[in-house]
Symmetry: C2
Subunit: 440 residues, 2 copies
């Protein structure tokens, strides 16, 4: 049986999972593919740490260059983590004509444009199914299944750690810090969870999804990213009373009528990551724990949703191996597309100040008559309407929470209004503002 | 720009949708694919009926042979409906070396083995994403994304009509006949809804999914199929009281340990379609209306779920066009796989009598002491345990409902027990038996 030579750089959790499943499901893979995915070299500095399945010593090296330079290797897998070293390795592999498979979302979000420019020049495919939402085949679906669609919107829960934390806060009334501690104890959050918590892991994935959907590489500097650190147990409780759950969403949207035939329109797209109130009736509100889910709305296919494990050794390995199978087919194929096809229908991101949204607004106010009237008239002066208000009880003499849901407003309008509200004497703490996606 | 010549046989709802979107999103498709999907001929007996977009007269023919015989056409699309004529057309297209795209689930379920045998001999790919769950890319996901996985189970809501009917019965307490009438009025059910209602449309899709997952063509005679006609409003209400919703599910399962290395085991798989009690906490329970959803559990990827529109002009056209894009790439590609790759790890279906399940059992009994004891001891004598019982109130003198949830039992055990229960003097009507999927 024909063998495809594979080199894996990075033998951490994911690399070890890929090796384990390639060996464990070897027979099934051979039968389905009619060829063998054969690991020839694994590069990692640490050869001693135990892995679920240890390869023969002769397969291990400490130099990624050994993979790039090996003529018996056709596919170079990048599972190193970090950015600089993976970039050097991936570029060297492309230069050597090797097909690249990577799970590295940060690498692609920051250097995707450069990587795919060179890959296209050299006619070398780069596959990256595992970079977004692990076992959920969202890259393949966007690239292939929805090829006929203008993508109207993508709403994704794409960071399992923050979804786990928000789920635990919702289910048990835990505060953020306690829920984070629980996630760390359960192995769902790193000792340094910064990228998960501050929204940037999700943002890297949003950049990749938006770039595929709209055909140009989105720059991280042009998007709006907020993490979940500021979400409180009180916000979750008030949101629930109003019929919502709070999720960290990647939101990607294009306006409907950008592509008038013959126009050279460059409609700005929205790309943002932030805690979001999602109606409890929407299926995304039911996605709990470390699971990921991505809702894609296409102009032809309508609403779709994909759900599965977004991280972890096994789910990620499943995605990497599916890329290896594609790579094996691609070796002998004329390549119309090396993994990213520019299609300049859109071409820029809308600044966050211009983005229209609904908002949840939680204030801490003095408990006396006239406060709501004062705030409502201030919002009205900025042309911001209020759709509902709740004012829960508080202890005698304490400031009381005042929770408002407000109609569509730009971020610019809201910032101006919030600045004025925060300065009111009756407002006792910094206002909490969370966006709402009504999904209608 | 390079053109791919396409012929479409069948210019009904789906064919008209494919043509409309190929033209409407032509610019986007050209940019993404780097080639043009160009419709050359459309075969249909009716040239007069209005379609959303009418092609030039010169494109229309009444003979499908004109497509098969046209050297300018590389891809033959089959959207005729029925079985005999589509089979002749598809076989003729393969003989002429044309890549085939079909949305015809009945054709593949009945003649898949034959079609793919000839396609493989002739080295001609056959694509069929639209045959199962319309806009949901489940075929591509099973074939490609989950290539590394032994599929443990597939649970699918794959018939939109019956899901609409069950949803309306659940939401409004309608009876089956009223809900069916409503579905017909809303255009979600055909004037003759037999295949939707009796489970066979879902069964055709189950056959295709099972065949892809397990590598051999499942025979319709070997599977168990029940429709939703016998589900009553009372069943839906009692199921809800016990924490379940009733869905028409396609259930496909394999036991875990079939592929001991080196074994030639042929583990039987389960393939069945029937009304099913689904726990309200499972996401499938929240799939309402005409939407489809398919949960796939793979040994590597874990739990996944796909959701979207399963039918209708647009969602189906989206899937057909994704197949056309694949076909365009496949024209110049060496073909390791013509659309179905046998991989004989399993190889036969388990007879329904041997399948173990949990059951919901609704009896209509005389309202007097000792009835439950009598039924419980009869079940116990067949080694069938009871997990819960509810007995709602009834009118004085009327038979009362008695609802039992029973533990794992084979269909054989249950049939024997039900036969005896039905013969009891205290049991007034034919027992209602519905399977339960506990998803754990």
């Amino acid at each position: 049986m024909r063998q495809i030579g594979i080199g894996i750089a990075g033998f951490g959790t994911i690399g070890a999972g890929v090796y384990k499943h390639l060996v464990g499901n070897r027979r099934l893979l051979c039968e389905r593919l009619g060829l063998e995915l054969s690991v020839r070299k694994i590069a990692d500095l640490d050869h001693e740490r135990p892995r679920p399945l240890m390869p023969p010593k002769s397969m291990l090296t400490k130099r990624w260059e050994d993979i790039v330079e090996d003529p018996e290797i056709q596919v170079a897998v990048e599972l190193m983590g970090g950015i600089d070293l993976p970039l050097r390795y991936v570029m060297a592999a492309i230069e050597h004509g090797k097909i690249v498979v990577t799970a590295n979302k940060a690498l692609l979000a920051e250097h995707g444009a450069e990587i795919f420019r060179v890959a296209t020049e050299k006619n070398v495919p780069v596959f990256f199914e595992a970079a977004v939402a692990g076992g959920v085949p969202i890259i393949k679906s966007l690239r292939e299944a929805f090829v006929a669609n203008h993508i109207r919107s993508i709403h994704g829960i794409v960071n399992g750690t923050s979804n786990y934390i928000l789920t635990r806060m919702t289910q048990s009334g835990l505060g953020f810090a306690e829920a984070l501690k629980e996630a760390q104890d359960a192995g769902y959050a790193e000792a340094n969870p910064a990228l998960d918590i501050n929204g940037w892991d999700a943002a890297h994935k949003a950049i990749i999804l938006a770039s595929l959907a709209y055909g140009f590489w989105v720059n991280g500097k042009d998007i709006h990213v907020e993490g979940i650190e500021s979400v409180t147990a009180a916000d979750i409780e008030f949101a629930q009373k109003m019929g919502y759950k709070i999720k960290l969403l990647a939101v990607i949207k294009a306006e409907g009528d950008c592509e008038a035939p013959g126009s050279e329109s460059k409609c700005p797209i929205e790309v943002r990551v932030h805690p979001t109130l999602v109606p409890q009736t929407h299926v995304l509100a039911s996605v709990n724990g470390v699971f990921n889910a991505i809702a894609v709305h296409g102009d032809v296919v309508g609403e779709t949703l994909f759900y599965g494990r977004g991280a972890g050794q096994d789910a990620t390995a499943s995605a990497v191996i599916s890329d290896l199978a594609e790579a094996a087919v691609a070796i002998d194929t004329p390549r119309p597309n090396c993994g990213f096809q520019p299609h300049g229908l859109y071409g820029k991101c809308k600044p966050i100040d211009e983005i229209v949204s609904q908002y949840y607004l939680r204030l801490s106010v003095t408990d006396k008559p006239g406060v709501l009237a004062q705030i409502a008239s201030l919002l009205a002066s900025r042309e911001i309407g209020i759709s509902s208000v709740i004012q829960p009880e508080a202890l005698e003499g304490e400031p009381v929470p005042l929770v408002l849901m407000v109609h569509d407003a730009t971020q610019g309008q809201m910032n101006a209004a919030i600045g004025e509200i925060a300065a009111l004497e009756c407002v006792k703490r910094a206002p909490q503002v969370i966006r709402v996606e009504p999904f209608c």
